[in-house]
């Protein structure tokens, strides 16, 4: 009896792992294919995309880096995401502090507003915004585009920061107030250290979101010199199929940093994803 139970458990475990590995395969197969082909010659890819590289052609990467103008692309991407993170952090931390304590009249109305703003489609505000920005000569302007990206991630960031501020014990602020601290000091010296995991979570989520964003950045960042790394990569595809090795190497140049970044920040990333959706 004990034996069969053990056996049964073993089989269940085996099936579980087979199914999970199958799912891993589905997720990673296309990416693995890009990786192996990025080391191959164009003709080798055309002949068989499934074969492993015989000779490692690292020069694909050098060529990709220059054709894709990635040096400038990455600088633009960093600017775009960096400015977006700074705007969102500054605004959402302050707003989260105010809304967590219901410190002003209409706090719940503001929360309601942000809840609706979170589900508003980009197409509801994109077109007038584009033509207004065009009139103000802001098309191709990275900080201006950051402002739009910041506005789209603001609601979620405000909710997340509010949740983190809600977890701060009231006594902490009261004690500081008794010691004569003003609001700025309370936020900077008392609250900031406590909510710093929230600040990291928001930075990671907003950073990745703005790095990957397509609709707004492709609409507003026109002009090749303003292209982010992703937009530069997309423009390479114009010469469709002409040189797959370079295209594949370019894809890896884009995938690599994000995967590494994700591996280091996954805890915060997963926390941020979950706290928006699961009440705990």
């Amino acid at each position: 009896m004990a034996m069969t139970k053990k056996k049964k458990k073993f089989i269940v475990n085996l099936i579980t792992h087979i199914v999970l590995l199958l799912l891993v395969f589905i997720c990673l197969f296309p990416i693995a294919l890009v990786l192996t082909n990025s080391f191959k010659e164009n003709s080798e890819i055309v002949r068989n995309p499934l074969s492993l590289p015989v000779v490692i052609h690292l020069e694909n990467y050098i060529q990709a880096w220059t054709t894709g103008k990635f040096a400038r692309g990455f600088i633009n991407s960093i600017k775009l995401s960096g400015i977006t993170i700074l705007i969102v952090l500054f605004c959402s931390t302050l707003a989260g502090y105010v809304l967590a304590g219901k410190r002003i009249k209409g706090s719940s109305a503001i929360l309601m507003y942000f809840m609706v703003a979170m589900t508003v489609p980009i197409q509801l505000f994109l077109f007038p915004l584009y033509y207004t920005f065009a009139k103000l000569n802001l098309i191709g302007n990275i900080p201006a585009t950051s402002l739009i990206l910041a506005a789209t991630s603001m609601p979620l960031a405000v909710f997340l920061m509010r949740t983190f501020f809600l977890a701060v014990p009231k006594e902490l602020e009261e004690a500081a107030r008794i010691d004569g601290a003003d609001t700025a000091q309370v936020i900077w010296h008392v609250m900031r250290p406590v909510v710093s995991p929230g600040i990291i979570t928001v930075s990671v989520l907003v950073g990745l979101q703005s790095w990957n964003e397509y609709l707004i950045s492709s609409t507003f960042l026109q002009g090749e010199k303003n292209f982010t790394a992703t937009l530069g990569f997309l423009s390479m595809n114009g010469s469709y199929g002409s040189n797959m090795s370079i295209l594949m190497a370019s894809a890896i140049i884009l995938i690599g940093p994000i995967v590494i970044f994700f591996l280091f920040t996954q805890k915060y990333f997963v926390d941020g994803m979950v706290s928006g959706a699961v009440k705990g």
């Binding site: 997720c27 809304l99 589900t119 489609p121 992703t230 994000i258 994700f262 959706a277 699961v278």
Partner: protein
Amino acid sequence: MKKRKINWNYLLIAPALLISISIILVPGIMTIMYSFTDWNGISPNVNFIGLKNFTELLHDNIFFRAIGNNIIWTLMFLTIPVVLGMLSAMLLLGRKKTKSIYQVSFLIPYVLAPAVNAMLWLNIIFSPVVGLVAFLRNMGLDINSPLANRSTAIFACAGVDIWHYWPYLTVIYLAALRQIPTDQVEAGKIDGCNGWKLFRYIYFPNIKSTVSLMFIMITIGSFLAFDYIKLLTGGGPAHATEVLGTYAYSFAFGSMKVGKAAAVGLFISFFGIIASIIYARISRKENVE
């Protein structure tokens, strides 16, 4: 003294509110107004044309095809990723050492940019010249790029988006499942529940609120579908993969009918607002409970 403190707090909320209002609310209201005009985006000459944009849409076959495609998109997203997410979350629930390795591997497509994911599928998988499709064709299989076929293109687009999206649900469901008190699960096991019964009577009822929240978010998201279609097919071939998002975009930046684009945009928002009202209702009910 007290009055000064209140003023401070209004100042603190101002940046977040001002940015949101100037980027989202004001242009949103402008969209509503422009949907009743024939504005082309540039000309200062804007004429009020009443409901003409909307009545024209009601006689537009492509518009209805776009709605149809959004509905296909919604149905696919409400089934395939939900089942995959639930299955993988249940399987991961029992894993201790390997859980995070699996979770991280699943999430890699999710954290990559849609532009990168789409290019990757477009070239190395779907391309009839260099991709997997081309390779299989050379082997003698009679297949073509599913993106080139009018009847399969929408499913291929949704497939790529689902490939990228489903691990998100795994993470959400797994987080919800892990909050279930272990004594409930133990009690269920003692009562003789296992496998499907355990899921049906113990796990599922406990995460029902998360599941229904995700249903609403998926529905909202499906009517906003844009990135993968724009990147993979651009709405083609012959409007076969047109959805409301891409259709509005092509009005605004292709044929310069911004008034009409606004009308389509309003239509998308209409679904979003209905769903977000339901969402607000549900989350408020839960807060009360």
